[in-house]
Amino acid sequence: MMNIYFRDEKLPKLDIITDVEREFDNLKLTGSFLENLVINKIELGSFKDALHFTDRFGDKLPINFMSTGCKAALVVLNNPDKLVDLKECGLNARDTIITYLDGNVLLTFSTITFYNENFHDKNNIKVCLDNYVFTNLDRLNYYLTDERPYVPDMSRKGIFMKR
């Protein structure tokens, strides 16, 4: 499950990763399905080996040449017990992280909405915010724009209380 927190609100007692580039420097990629997915969605490339990836033009590049947004996604993926600050992420990287990964992320604005043009099954997310679990991207967006900070309408599909 992906846990979302917003800056200037109450945060969990987790270590916070602010400098994702620095954290990424100490990551060892394994080429797992999710690492490959993230590299594919954000860089339009693929995992090559622990030190390289293939970019959108088919060139083999060192992994430190990846974008900061892609590095942030890989840091989230490999640090499920830490809170990762996504302030350097572009919208495409942020939405990939929210819709495909598990972990804990810190975002800046509480009125944002999420979008993923490649994410056709909007009923396949698992995002926790304010002790509510959202299983539908549109339902999460509705909560952010029309309901929060008030109690959401629990009769609408795609939301349940966290147990």
């Binding site: 602010t18 954000i42 892609c70 992420c89 572009g90 990287a93």
Partner: protein, 131 residues
């Protein structure tokens, strides 16, 4: 139009006027690559340069880096990590040079900046302004 060449890529700049320009809020469009190329071009004697968060953490001041020579094109990479620092210095540089800012969040500096677009192509990085 100006062109710079390094690392087997041509950077084509279709921005004419000095000023502040902020990139669209997308990842993996080639910003950090552009930063590296502009730094490399500076080492070749071109009137370009770039500044990033690791320059700051390594103790290199923006003033020393970017204000000692006349530059035509400057990029500030990862500005979210030093948001609202050097504001006046950057505005001063933008009087004479094109200043490109990678900033995903709100900042005083980018409030009045124009939106610009970077397109990463196989042999070229194309830099355009929002019209």
């Amino acid at each position: 139009m100006k062109r710079y060449k390094a690392e087997n890529r041509v950077v084509t700049v279709e921005i004419e006027q000095p000023g502040l320009y902020v990139f669209e809020k997308e990842s993996a469009i080639g910003k950090t690559f552009l930063c590296r190329i502009l730094k490399r071009c500076r080492s070749y004697g071109e009137r370009t340069d770039a500044y990033t968060y690791t320059d700051l953490t390594a103790g290199r001041s923006l003033m020393h880096y970017l204000m000692t020579t006349d530059l035509d094109l400057v990029m500030l990479d990862r500005y979210d990590m030093y948001n609202d620092k050097f504001e006046q210095d950057i505005k001063e540089i933008a009087q004479k040079a094109i200043v490109l800012i990678d900033c995903k969040n709100d900042s005083n500096l980018t409030e009045d900046a124009q939106l610009c677009f970077l397109t990463l192509q196989e042999e070229q990085l194309l830099l355009e302004v929002d019209t």
